[in-house]
Subunit: 330 residues, 2 copies
C-alpha cells in the first residue's frame, strides 16, 4: 500500500545517550512501527547521523511506508540546541558539537524536520497524549541521572530566547549546597539527582545500613540504578527509602517554585527515579510542594506520574513537529 | 474636538493600596491626561468603585474627551483576581472581596474593560513601552513592601490557570528560613522585602550601627521607607548598605531561578527599593544572578531598571487591554 496515501504519517525520534528510537505514527499519532538502535556516540557525530537516518529508514520499512508518505519528522535531542537551525550545539551527553540534525534528516527524507530539546518534547508528549491532556499549563520534571524540566503553556512549549530553558535541574535550591556538575553550588541536581541518591545509597550500603542493596548491587554507583534502589526499598532497606524521599522533597521544593511562577494545572513527573518508584516519589513530591506553595495555590494543581514512559520524547517530538508546522502554515 | 474622533483613546488605570491613577492615552500610548485620587480602601469597595469611575471621568474631562472616544480601559489591580470576569476576589491590600471591577466600569463607560494583576500590568508596560522593548521574554521583579513578579513571553503575559501567577515573592528560597506573611517559611519575601530590610535597618539603628538612619527616621518601621534607607546609605551608614545588598542578593537568587526556568532576554527590576537605589540594587542582583545561573546562561540576559516608574501599571494595563482586545477580535 506504500506510496499511494499522500502525506499522512509522522516520525517521532528520540536521540538518547545510549539508545535512539524512531516511531512511525499515523494521523492520530498511534504507533504503527518502531525501530531502536544503539547511539554509539563515541563513534562520532557523522557516524551518528548515519545511524539516525538508517534507524528512521528501518522504522519506515517496518511500517511498509515510503518517505514521500511523511508529513514531517520531530526529533527530541539533548542540548544545548540551536532550535531554528535544528543543530546540536554541544552535548556533554554525546560528546558531539555543531551537528546539523535538521539539515541532514531533511535531505534524507525530503520532509520538514523540527528539533526540540528531549525533555521539552517529553513534556509536550505528556500534554498531547499522556498525563497532561487538556491542561492549560503542564510543568514536567524528570529526575534521573540529571534533572530535566519542560513547560507547555496554552498549547505551546515555553522556549526561551536562549537555546535551552526550563533548566529546573540547575535552579539554585540550597544556598551553600554541594558542588554541581555544572560548576555551581546547590543546584537541584546537586542534591536530588539519581547520581546523588545512588551515591548516598552506596555510602549507606558501605556502612552496612542497606544490606539488601549491598547484596544486590554492591557499592559501585554504576550498578546502583533506579531499579536497584526500588528493589532494595521493597526488600526492606528503610535507609534507602529515606534517601529517595529526601530527593523527592527537593524536587517538591522545585515543583513549588515552578507552581508559584507558572501556575500549572498539573506537574507531571517522569524519569528513572519516578518510573522505578512512582507512587512513593509522587506522593513525597506532592506533599512537599503543597506545603511550600503560596497557600492559595495549595489545591490548584495535580501532581501526576507520566504515562508515556520510554516513548514520551519520540511521541512528543512528532506532535510538536505537527504543531510547529501547523502554526507556521497559518 | 470631543466626540468627533471615533474611538481612538485608551484609559490605563492603576488601583493601588493608597492611591489610584487614571491615564488617558492616545493611539500611540502617549499620555495626554492624568488624574489621581486617594484609594481610601477603608471606606469599602462600593465607595471605591465610585471613586474609580469618578477618577476616570476626571481624567477624560482633563483631556477634553467623551467616553464614546474610548477604545477600551485597562485596569491593573492587586489580586487575587478572576481575570475572565474582571473581579477582585480578595485583596488583603485593600480589604475588598468579590468586587465587580470590569462590569462596573464597562457599564459606566460603554467600552470593553480588561483587568490584569498590577505587577503583570507593570511588567507588560515595561515590555511595550519601557526597559524591555522588543524582548522575546521579559521577567519583571518588583521588590517593595511585598515582592511581585511578572513575565511576558512572545508578546503575551504568562497567566496561569489559577488567578495569580509569577508569585516570585513566595518561591521557597531559603530552606528553614523565617516565617513569611503568607504563612510559609523561607519565601523570597521573608528574607528580602522592603519590610525585612527596614526591620534589619531599624535593629541596626537601635544598636547604634546606623546613626544617620537613626537620626533621620528613628526605629519605627513605618518611617523607614526606601527613600530613608537610600539617604542613610548616602550619608555613610555602611551597615544599611550591607542590609540592602543582602536583600538584592536574595532577589538575584530568585532572578537566577527565573532565568533558568524561563530564559528571559531581560530581567527588569522595579518597586520601591530599586527606585530608591537603582544602581546599587541592580548591580548586586545582576552579579548574584550571573554567579548562580547555568554557566551557559551567564551572558544570555540583561538586568535593567524599570523606566516607567509610577506609571508602569497604568500604561501596561492599557497596552495589555489593547493586546487582549486585538487578539480576541482575530
Amino acid at each position: 500500500m506504500s506510496g499511494d496515501g499522500g502525506r499522512k504519517h509522522w516520525i517521532g525520534f528520540d536521540l538518547g545517550g545510549t539508545k535512539m528510537l524512531a516511531l512511525v505514527l499515523n494521523e492520530a499519532f498511534e504507533k504503527i512501527a518502531r525501530k531502536r538502535k544503539k547511539t554509539k556516540a563515541h563513534e562520532g557525530s557523522e557516524a551518528g547521523l548515519g545511524r539516525i537516518v538508517r534507524t528512521i529508514e528501518g522504522a519506515l520499512g517496518e511500517a511498509g511506508l515510503n518517505k514521500d508518505e511523511l508529513c514531517g519528522i520531530g526529533i527530541g535531542s539533548p542540548g544545548p540546541l540551536d532550535l531554528k537551525r535544528g543543530m546540536i550545539l554541544d552535548t556533554p551527553n554525546l560528546g558531539w558539537r555543531n551537528v546539523p540534525l535538521k539539515a541532514t534528516v531533511e535531505e534524507a527524507f525530503g520532509c520538514p524536520v523540527v528539533v526540540a530539546n528531549d525533555v521539552d518534547a517529553g513534556t509536550y508528549g505528556e500534554y498531547r497524549l499522556g498525563a497532561g491532556k487538556q491542561a492549560r499549563c503542564v510543568v514536567g520534571i524528570f529526575p534521573g541521572t540529571g534533572i530535566g524540566g519542560g513547560c507547555v503553556y496554552d498549547g505551546r512549549l515555553i522556549q526561551g530566547h536562549t537555546n535551552s530553558f526550563m533548566e529546573i535541574g540547575h535552579i539554585p535550591i540550597q544556598p551553600g549546597g554541594p558542588l554541581c556538575g555544572c560548576g555551581r553550588h546547590g543546584c537541584l541536581e546537586s542534591v536530588a539527582s539519581r547520581l546523588v541518591v545512588s551515591a548516598s545509597a552506596a555510602a549507606a550500603a558501605h556502612r552496612g545500613d542497606a544490606p539488601h542493596l549491598h547484596e544486590a548491587a554492591g557499592t559501585d554507583l554504576a550498578d546502583i540504578r533506579s531499579g536497584a534502589l526500588a528493589a532494595a526499598i521493597q526488600a526492606g532497606d528503610t535507609v534507602v527509602e529515606q534517601i529517595v524521599r529526601e530527593s523527592a522533597r527537593w524536587v517538591g521544593r522545585a515543583a513549588a517554585t515552578a507552581v508559584n511562577l507558572l501556575g500549572p494545572d498539573i506537574v507531571v513527573l517522569g524519569g528513572g527515579l519516578v518510573e522505578a518508584m512512582p507512587e512513593l516519589y509522587r506522593e513525597e513530591v506532592a506533599a512537599t510542594a503543597r506545603s511550600l506553595v503560596m497557600p492559595s495555590f495549595e489545591d490548584s494543581f495535580e501532581v501526576a506520574v507520566a504515562t508515556l514512559g520510554d516513548d514520551a520524547t519520540a511521541l512528543g517530538a512528532a506532535a510538536w513537529a505537527e504543531r510547529s508546522l501547523r502554526s507556521a502554515a497559518v
